[in-house]
Every structure is written in C-alpha cells, then in structure tokens.
Symmetry: C2
Subunit: 332 residues, 2 copies
C-alpha cells in the first residue's frame, strides 16, 4: 500500500514534491490544497506538471481536502515563516495528520520561534503524530550533512561550510530572491524588508552547536550583495556590470568570542563553480566536497519525500533532522 | 558528571578509545579489561599510552572490573567476529550495561550473524539497555555517510563508494592485515585462511540496500592482491617489486542481475592519493569526496566515543547507525 500524501501549498517546491510523490514507488498524491484561485478546482497533476492527470482536484480548504482524500501524511510547503504556518500546522494536527514541512524556520526553531515550536510539540503529542521541518538548506547541506561528518572526529575546533551556486541554472523566483538585477540601493532596501535573503542560517548554526553540545555567545547572519564585474545573464534575467548579480550571506556562531561555526553562502549569476563543501578544523581535520553541489529544488523536494516514511515511524512530537533516524533515499 | 566508561579489549583500537575518553570532556575511563598477561595489573593509562596514570588497574575479569568501577557504559573492542564476542556481550548485558562495540560483524549483522543479532536484541531488551556496533568502516565511510547523501535524491539507480588509502601512514598490524610484503601465493593462502581481508563490506552493502528498501539477489565480496610495480616501503615494511603491497576488495550488491551497490576498497603501500568518495547515479547525480580520506584508527575510536551519549539515550535493544539519531561529534 502506497503512502497517501496530502499536498498543502502548491508553489514551486510543493509542486516539485507532487511530481516526485506521483512518480515514486511507495507514495500516492491523494489531495492538494492551495489558496491561489488560478489553481483551485484544477487537477493536481496539471497544476504540478506531472504530465498526467491525477484524478484529484485542488481544493481551497484543508479540512475538505482531508475528508475527501483520507491521507496518511501532509506535506506543508506554504511559507518560510513559522508564524505564518502555525495555524496550518495546528489544523493538520487537529485532524491527526503527521506533517513534513519545508518551512525553513521549522527546520530548527530558534529565537522567538522556539516558543511556537513548543506549542507544535504539545499539539503533536496530543495528536500522537510526528512533525518534521526539513529541506536541502536548512535541513541538510549546511547542517545535517556537516554534523554527520564530525562523527569521525575526536576533536572539533571549528567548522566551515560553503555553499556556492551559479544561480543561472536556478528558477526565476530564486534569482529574484537573491536580488539579481537590482542596484546596490535596491538590494539593501530588499534586505531591510526581508525579501532578499536566505532563511535558515541561524537555524543551521544552532543545530550544529547543539549537536556538539556547544554553548554559543552570539549568532550573526550578514547579507551582502555580489556585484557583477561584467555583464551576465541567465535564461530569465540580464545583469549589467556594476549591478547586483546575487547574494553573499554568512551565518556565524561565536564561542568565547571566536567564530567557530561559519556557514558561507554565495549564490549569484556566473559563479564559476557550484559546490557544497565542509571543512572541519580538528582531529582528524576533514574536508568534504560535493562537486556540482546539491541541487536546491530537486533536493528539497527529495528530502521532504524521503523523510515521509521516517516521520510515519517516529515517536509523536516535533522532530528535527538531528533526532530522526539516519536520512536516506527511500525506494518504496 | 562525566560518563563512566569501562574499556573491554585493549588492542590498538581499544587503547585509542581509552586515550580519547581520558582526554575528552564529558567522559571518564573507569575500568579496563584485557586477557593479555602483559597488560593485566598495569595502569590503564600506561597500557593505553595516555601519557598519565589513570589510577585504574587493567583487570582480566569483566565482572570484577564492573564491580570495582561502576561504569555507565562498556566499550567492547576484542574481535571483528560476532561469534567470538557473543559471550562478552551477554555478560555485559547481564550486568545491565549499554554497549558500544567496534566488532565489525555487529555493525549490521548479516547471514548467520543475523541469528546472533536477534539473541543480542532479546538480551538487550531484557536488560533494558541499548547496544550498537560501529566504527569508521563498517559503520560510517562506506555505509552511513553514503546513505545520508542519498537523502537528497529523488531517484537512486546505483551507488559506488571508493575508499582508497596509502597504507604507508597506517600502523603495522594494518599493513599486515592487507598482506603487504607477501608473495602472491602467500597472499592467496592468507585470504583463504581469512587473515588477510577487510571485514564489513557485506554488512555495508546490506545496510545501504535496506535503507533504500532494495531487495538484492546476491552480495559478493572479492579480494585481490595489489602487486608493487616498483619497490615501496613504509616505516615498518619494505616490499620488492612483484610482491604484494596491499589489497583491493570489492563488495557488490546485485539487483535483478545488475551491480547497483559497489563498495571499492584499495589499501596499499604507495597509493598516490588517499580519499573517500561516493558517486550516486540517479537524480540528482551526486559526487562527494573527502580528500585525504577519513583516518581509520582515530575515526573508528572517535565514532565509538561519539556514539556513547546516543546509545545512552536510545531505546533498549540492538541498534545500528541507520536507526540511531544523526551521528555527530560530541563536545561534552
């Protein structure tokens, strides 16, 4: 019997997950929910671009979709913000559904979100179901994978993670999110608004620190523009020299005043090399590199789908990638 | 309060673990057991080379050592063979001690060992304690770490793991274990005896297949000598051209007649590059490399020590690296 999946949120990531759930062994998309009137009432497969009808109409109402589809699990992909998705999570737990969410702030709730996380944990205990926030970043490349590598170390003094991407191969919303095409001033304004940034570095820093048992004095998250030295273009955008072609963002965790966890991201049109790398200063010193990087959209969808069977097996409550069983591909 | 550790088995790996437990925050070596009359009665720190006395005498008797030291956990490093360590594991569980063992065949018990594993699981349930077999290989570089990487994939068609080591930097017993210095005939005879081989490839192949939910038709484990093309020497050994300088070993899992899991090891004096690499054929295709490799002895000891707090938290029973929480360095 395949696992019956309800898809809540049909943006690019949500639709990517529908496509995988439809194509992969062991899963079946049984319901879809979105608020976009352009999607409601249409076939879920058509909306998600699966290449075939799924015989399921996209609904505007979570409760109705649950009743109609009898899902085993909900995949929630509506927002990066934990505050925004709180009512949705509470609704799904009320219906006693386990949840896998790509909400970045749920991957490892920090700061004000820690209180919301406690509420989710309590609601999940009451529902006797498990909840997980995950994705490629946060959730994998800049936290879970580097954490895993340190298991081979008798001593870790510092860890540096680099995620460098040539944004030309990414979709337009991603290119917009990194500020490609803006002037310096426009970039700064968007950073102030919060519309240009990667969400999750503070979460990843804390996940690493907690795994090691490190107390941090301070966590910083600093965003800078990358300025095009020469004109550069993608399929969607052209950027003149002197304008912003992307973002450089550093999440840093300090211990006794020293930066011991550095998460360095560069995503810009024309980056000469795309890769993920981890450098551990310690014993043994270790360096790992994923040449070509871990593709953001496919991987985020894959990690969410691969996590479904693990969440179904997990104890009730809110989990993170740190305490669930070892992440892995699931072949049905 | 540091975790009180009883060390059973004081060979190279066992002593490496004592050194880490003595040096690392959060742990304390409180007892040591070995059958070697040259070690019994001496200070554990002296035997293990910690550079200082630990005020603990090595005992020949597990029960006496437990009574004298009141440990929280036992680390067992006496043999690669599960059959050999069975009575030791049963004794430790009778004393209600959780166990972390570097016994290769316990990392993921296969074949005839699966029955022994069931017995251990039952005894661990009865004792209400957790048991784990782990190490760098099996337990990490050729199974848990590659499995982890596949979490980013929506499809895995095949996985190839390479572990290539210049054995010149390893200790003498390791150089002997890979047959360095033997003639071709001597090498073949030692392979037949079982004294020249890496233990754990079949275990790692099965761990990967089970993580993916793959049924395999066949698992093979093939050992070949690496012949020195030119004279090569380590600190301990000289090998003439035409003689064996090390081992090439392949563990292969077949699915529908196709080799889908290939674990390729090369360990020989003079390997031009030492590295661990993973290549995933699928979507996305992924390539990961740890340049310089993950050092065998330090890492095996580190993984064992880092696993201790996880085993203390785990549910009763026999665990593997697949079902415990995410492996990580533990900083006390």
């Amino acid at each position: 019997m395949p696992i019956r999946v309800l898809h809540v949120g049909l943006g690019p990531i949500g639709c990517g997950i529908v496509r995988q759930v439809a194509a992969r062994k062991g899963f079946k998309p049984v319901g879809g929910v979105d608020i976009d009137p352009g999607k409601v009432g249409r076939d879920l497969g058509e909306v998600a671009g699966t290449g075939r009808g799924l015989g399921v109409k996209v609904s505007a109402h979570v409760e109705k979709a649950i009743k109609a589809s009898k899902p085993d699990v909900a995949v929630l992909c509506t927002s990066s913000s934990l505050k925004t998705v709180m009512p949705q999570i509470e609704l799904l737990l009320k219906a006693k559904l386990p949840i896998v969410s790509t909400t970045e702030e749920l991957a490892y709730p920090v700061g004000a979100n820690a209180r919301l996380a406690k509420r989710i944990h309590q609601a999940a205990l009451k529902a006797k179901k498990a909840v997980l926030g995950t994705g490629v970043n946060p959730g994998f490349t800049m936290d879970a994978l580097p954490i895993m590598l340190t298991a081979a170390c008798e001593r870790v003094e510092a860890i540096r993670v680099e995620r460098v991407q040539d944004a030309r191969i990414r979709r337009l919303p991603f290119q917009r999110k990194i500020g490609a095409g803006l002037s310096r001033d426009e970039f700064e304004a968007r950073v102030q608004q919060g519309s240009v940034r990667h969400v999750g570095l503070a979460e990843s820093v804390r996940m690493i620190a907690d795994a090691f048992g490190w107390k941090l004095d301070k966590v910083t998250d600093v965003i800078a523009p990358r300025i095009a030295q020469a004109p550069v273009a993608s399929e969607f955008l052209s950027v003149a020299a002197g304008r912003v072609c992307g973002i450089v963002q550093d999440g840093t965790g300090y211990r006794d005043g020293t930066p011991v966890i550095v998460l360095h991201m560069e995503a810009y049109l024309g980056a000469p090399e795309t890769y993920d790398a981890v450098k551990i200063t310690g014993s043994p010193a270790l360096q790992m590199k994923v040449a070509g990087g871990v593709h953001g959209d496919i991987a985020t969808a894959a990690i969410a789908v691969n996590s479904i069977p693990k969440v179904l097996k997990a104890t009730p409550g809110l989990h993170t990638m740190r305490d669930l069983e070892l992440p892995s591909f699931y072949g049905g």
